[in-house]
Symmetry: D2
Subunit: 231 residues, 4 copies
């Protein structure tokens, strides 16, 4: 273990993962970013000093390789954040089964793969944290959203099972129910009025504080939405 | 549509699926049974007059073929029951990723495939029912059960999403949270005292009554456990 | 215990309680009906042969008297149904605290009082059933509905606690989440289209079937809504 | 409104409320503490500069008076925390109905009264926060805990209803599910091993951070338990 903490964010791109990268960096944490295409991460790497990795998060061998590389380059991650997500949209009758399977593999199975690799190191070491970015689709199955419901319910089931399994091994699990649109650059307020959309920097702050909870009072889940969001 | 009702049970073997087959047959419903290996269903077919089909429920083409064959042989199913399930057991660090993916495909993705084929016929026809056999693992993620948690949470998410999508199209969705051991033949009481385990005939009666609910008061979920079961 | 089964329905009036009374009577069950004002029950008593009692369900002594009278007149109830409900409507800032307290006492505390009296007999006897009529307000706290949220969440908490406590004592608990408008006489379909509102006779059938579940596969909760209801 | 923020904690004594008082004071927030017996708060008042008030939180007039006094003495509270709780313990058959009603009034109705008085000021003012201390008994009804189940489920229903009603009015609702024993002075670790019990200072930090969430990403609930706690 190094003196500097290491964070690995899988499913990195713009939006939340960029804010997480910046938040960790600001906390003195070394950041590894993984995405299917690492090239798109170059700007964020320059800005935050992060290291980028290419990884298909739904491929067991690729995820194992990712952990090997990160560990070799930076050290074992103290926290792994699974942020990848995919869905097929539309009525159940219209969905392409292969697209649905891909969505489940990316939204849920990939979360398992990353959690498993992280847990192997963290159980041996006796500490760590594994966080998952969920969605309201993980607690409520919406019409015309059966693909996303499977992926995000499944991811939440994984997180809850791991909280029961790994909390007593000093590994902190976090599942974040993000409910509402996330603000994007160039869209300073969205069309929802002031603070009507989730600011990814705010979400990142919540992940960071969650990570810092002392283990006598750990949460395993947090639901975040804008003040004006219907739920 | 034929005058006689048709029920298709996917994931048939002993236990609950056999009880369902008998219950449907007793109600005058023609039964189609699908299993990976149809040969093992011959006894139940003789007993109930059911027709058996071989089908890998996690294979999109195989499920489409199944519906074609059943429809051609017996008619379009009025009710499809997804009863298949699979899991990899053990601590997250010990699980074989391929076994976990297989478990998710059988427990959850196969449910989607069957629901999709059923919905295609039922939406066009304007009626039908699609039922899923869940488990307590679908509402509570247990330690050392991350594989089952993903599969059964995912299946429940699918069912809830389809209830919101298909109930208003006159298609009744049912998700059954079976909590406790199911009694097997040759084990008249289990070791839990009288009625200490779920009798599959009792569960089958509950499915049947659920199917017969008038649409002015539909449930989408039912949780069943023995009176002595801790929860 | 008499040979004929006895049902006690507390919070009787029109609607669901009348349908329950008829359903029990049709099953050969002797019915006791309790309402604040027994006079309004005379028509239903004539129709079903039920006996009416006046009782303020939120008054401990009155509920104890009710059980004494019913037991003396008809025998100990085999099933007690708590059907009373009350709410104060409006934004939290506008509610009258006394009206809110009354609503909590009728919606929730009265359920406790009836359950307690029933449990005293049933625990001693070794069997029985206690059912509660809940609402979607008991699983989802709606805006401008804080009074109803307290009463119905509280009632659901009571039911779940009693299921854990009394199921192993052979006393069956039922909590019914009624989600949607109940059809009233003179309003054959409501304005929601065919079967767009809950028919109280359908709900009563569900209560009755729930009561008849064999104890190897008991539910403790059932959520019912019209097929077209948004949820 | 004053420049200095004001926090009102109702249901103050030792434990969590003392930690909350210290946490607010450390953040430069003026603190008002209310308890049935204000005399017992003198030590904490000396330590934190808080002002103590005597108040029966289940009495509408007393709660209205409390808000008048606090407002007159310190200003309108920016945050009100409802921390009072009461229960009758034991099997449902053994409970004293009057004790159960008292428990509901303190655990739930008092929360409503405080929320209502706070909301009257906050809605008019256009900002504020109202927090409730819940328990695992508010999300799971335990055997022999029917009294606490009603009170804490009811309190959670109130909080969820108010989140839907008041979040869009810029009033932040928080409901905290405290699951596990809270460490007391003189019992440095409890018997659960290191950090095996909830440290009230940790809980207070979580309340404080929750209060500081930007409104673009508000939570309404947080569940906290020690890392070793079974759930």
């Amino acid at each position: 273990m190094t003196d500097t903490e290491i964070a690995l964010i899988v499913g990195a791109g713009g939006g939340l993962s960029a804010s997480l990268g910046r938040r960790f960096a600001r906390g003195g944490v070394k950041v590894a970013l993984a995405a299917r295409d690492a090239a798109k991460l170059s700007g964020l790497c320059e800005e935050t000093g992060a290291t980028a990795y290419s990884c298909d998060a739904s491929d067991p061998a690729a995820v194992a390789d990712l952990f090997s590389s990160v560990t070799s380059d930076l050290g074992e991650p103290d926290i792994a954040v699974y942020n990848a997500s995919n869905r097929a949209r539309g009525p159940v009758t219209d969905l392409d089964p292969e697209a649905v399977l891909t969505a489940i593999k990316i939204s849920c199975f990939g979360g398992f793969l990353v959690a498993q690799q992280a847990a192997k190191q963290m159980v041996a070491r006796g500490n760590g944290a594994i966080f998952f970015t969920g969605a309201s689709a993980g607690v409520k199955g919406f019409a015309n959203s059966s693909s996303f419901a499977m992926g995000k319910f499944g991811l939440r089931g994984l997180a809850q099972a791991l909280a029961r399994e790994l909390h007593p091994q000093n590994i902190h699990i976090g599942h974040f129910v993000i409910d509402g649109g996330i603000l994007r650059a160039g869209d300073p307020r969205g069309d929802r009025g002031p603070e009507g959309m989730l600011n990814p920097d705010s979400i990142a702050d919540s992940y960071y504080q969650f990570w810092r909870q002392p283990r006598d009072s750990w949460a395993w889940e947090l639901e975040l939405r804008p003040w004006v969001e219907k739920f």
